[in-house]
């Protein structure tokens, strides 16, 4: 069977030879990550930069960041299937695939992060209902199943597979029930995005992260949801743009991209409103009550005040304004830059919540330490990026991911 016969109808793809070379590059990075995983499993977490001060490190920061950036899947699904924002149909497949990559990638990294991966199922067997992490374990696993279910019809729509009558019907029926899964997915994702934030907010003995609560949830629960839905759609759009640049083909109409940018901008503005209030409440309430001052929360370059100001102003307020204002949003390079900035802002947020929270000396006679990740942490993280590139490359080549592609690239 010729490779060409598997391509979506009426599209052009690079030669099989070039594609294989590209895959080899991806496999090389993945192999490096796999080797690191082997070293971690066989030698233990001592090969990472984590220690008794830094119980969490790059694995968790990476997980939190990709899960936030993968939020385009649940939020676009929610807007498209349930609120009926029609323009999103041209990018929803990509959003689902990115969500699938981000969540499955995060789960892969988590198998390295826990000291006893073979006991990971204890989370279901002996669940502690008080623990935000239990909520994360349940929601993340269930949402992963939902994402897989959402991915299946896209795979079955491959030109060859779709010719099989049975598979064609399966795909069709999956589409019919998709709003249900979009709803379930939105619910699950909403909760675990929140409980990831809640994980930090409940640390009442860590004044950097601790936040007051609304019912059983600390504010960070809601802030994480909002920051994820602010960065997710923009990230999906950026991936589409990157794919366009790499393949030299137009895949999504600019109006769709601008719509994604607008969604990001609106959600970012809402997020920042609450984030500013939260930061003020922390500065004026939690810190003095714990006997700490604002300056004591920051240290050197790795944990400096510059992080807070970059997160809130440079990678927060600035892109929010750029995305809300239609003239700037409709200028491609500004749109792309603004969405990149939103992504950087959310990564900084996940970094400080994790590393700075642990680095800050809570006992008055203790001191700051700096966490430096080792190659055994970078390699698997890069491997997950390569894994994402692999899935996207295969999906782009063989699946009808972009419904507008044919129209946008007349032969």
């Amino acid at each position: 069977m010729c490779d060409k016969e598997l391509w979506p109808e009426g599209v052009q793809r690079c030669s099989l030879k070039l594609f294989i070379v590209w895959l080899l590059v991806i496999f090389a990075v993945m192999a490096w990550g796999l080797y690191a995983a082997f070293v971690v499993w066989s030698g233990g977490l001592i090969v990472t930069g984590m220690d008794n001060y830094f119980a969490f490190g790059l694995y968790i920061i990476f997980d939190l960041a990709v899960i936030a950036l993968g939020a385009g899947a649940f939020f676009s699904g929610l807007l498209y299937y349930l609120i009926r924002v029609d323009g999103l149909k041209n990018i929803i497949n990509l959003a689902v695939i990115i969500g699938f990559i981000c969540y499955s990638g995060a789960l892969l990294i988590l198998t390295l992060e826990v000291g006893q991966p073979l006991r990971a199922w204890f989370g279901f067997w002996h669940p502690n209902v008080h623990s935000m992490l239990t909520e994360v374990i349940f929601c993340i696993t269930c949402y992963m199943i939902v994402l897989t279910i959402e991915f299946i019809p896209i795979i079955l729509e491959n030109r060859k597979l779709n010719k099989v009558k049975f598979l064609h019907h399966v795909a069709h029926n999956f589409h019919v029930i998709m709003p249900l899964f979009a709803g379930v997915g939105a619910f699950l994702s909403f909760f675990h995005q929140g409980s990831l934030g809640g994980m930090y907010g409940v640390l009442f003995s860590r004044p950097y992260a601790f936040r007051e609560g609304f019912f059983i949830w600390p504010w960070t629960f809601f802030l994480f949801i909002l920051s994820a839905v602010a960065s997710g759609p923009g990230f999906t759009m950026l991936v589409a743009t990157l794919m366009e640049k790499m393949t030299g083909r137009k895949l999504v109409d600019f109006s769709v991209k601008a719509l994604m940018g607008k969604i990001s901008g609106v959600m970012l503005a809402i997020y920042l409103f609450f984030k500013y209030l939260d930061t003020w409440g922390w500065y004026a309430g939690i810190l003095p009550r714990s006997g700490l001052t604002f300056s004591e929360m920051f240290y050197g370059l790795a944990y400096g005040k510059w992080l807070l100001f970059s997160e809130l102003i440079v990678f927060g307020l600035v892109p929010a304004v750029l995305l809300l204002y239609s003239k700037t949003r409709n200028t491609p390079w500004i749109l792309y830059s603004a969405c990149t900035m939103v992504g950087i802002g959310v990564i900084i947020n996940r970094y400080v919540q994790t590393a700075q929270t642990l680095a800050h000396p809570v006992m008055p006679f203790d001191r700051w330490y700096v966490y430096v990740p080792t190659w055994a942490e970078w390699a698997p993280s890069l491997a997950v990026v390569a894994y994402g590139a692999l899935i996207l490359s295969l999906a782009y080549r063989y699946l009808p991911v972009f419904p507008q592609e044919r129209k946008l690239n007349p032969a």
Partner: protein, 257 residues
């Protein structure tokens, strides 16, 4: 937000007199030996150590001749409202047995280290290495303390096995195992301290020395205002030491006389 609150009739606790502690480290050694902590593979980096009992050095940060130091032994503080308990996803750590000691089921711990992130006192330790005892040394292991594998978190349990021994002994002698006398149950560090800096007993029992000591104006708890409600008190007549027990802002005054 504290999700976990429980009151106990008996509250095992310590009062450590920081004016008596010389920082000799005997408590650290006793703890290592009693609780089957394997000799470290490489002791050069203290951030990988397994020191359930750790002695901190405090300084009044004054130049000589006014310089003064104090030594602060720090086991697990057995918090009344432990942050480490509600966060554990698998209930591997809990505070539910009479006496109020925060327990660990190492065989259930998945090694997520969330409890470690939650504890402000750095009282929890992750097993970075497989524990190895040099040949012959395994014969010195305490039989009623399980050894822990790589990849789980562990911490001081106030020598919980000694609590069990004391209860068994009381039962055999026909006494009430829930009403132990002050000297029935003594953790290894308390027994080993050459200056008698550590007093152990039931904080809730007015007959016990710890109860009285904990009520002294010189007694304080580490990070009192974080509301972790520890069952470990420190004692010092030196104001600067008490001041370092919590993050006091400049204008704030410390308790005591």
């Amino acid at each position: 937000m504290v999700l976990y609150l429980k009151e106990f009739k008996v509250k095992w606790g310590m009062v450590i007199d920081l004016d008596r502690c010389t920082g000799c480290g005997a408590c650290m050694v006793a703890c290592q030996a009693e609780n089957n902590l394997a000799p470290p593979v490489d002791a050069s980096n203290k951030r990988y150590s397994m020191t359930w009992m750790l002695v901190y050095q405090l300084s009044n940060r004054q130049p000589y001749p006014n310089h003064d130091v104090a030594y602060m032994p720090r086991p697990c503080l057995q918090c009344g409202k432990p942050n480490c308990v509600p966060v554990c996803p698998v209930i591997a750590t809990d505070k539910n047995q009479e006496g109020g000691i925060v327990s660990m089921v190492n065989a259930r711990c998945i090694g997520c280290r969330y409890c470690q992130a939650a504890c402000p006192y750095h009282a929890r330790y992750f097993n970075w290495h497989d524990p190895v005892w040099p040949e012959g040394m395994e014969k010195t292991l305490t039989q009623d303390v399980s050894t822990r594998p790589r990849g789980v978190v562990e911490k001081c349990l106030y020598c919980h096995h000694r609590f069990m021994y004391a209860r068994d002994k009381a039962r055999i002698e026909g006494r009430d195992p829930n009403a132990l006398a002050e000297d029935d149950y003594i953790p290894a560090c308390v027994e080993m301290c050459p200056t008698n800096a550590i007093t152990f007993g039931d904080l809730a029992n007015p007959e016990h020395k710890v109860h009285k000591l904990s009520k002294s104006p010189y007694a304080f708890r580490l990070l009192e205002r974080l509301n972790t409600d520890p069952q470990l008190y420190y004692y010092s007549q030196r104001e600067w030491v008490r001041r370092q027990g919590d993050n006091f802002l400049e204008h704030e005054t410390v308790g005591g006389v």
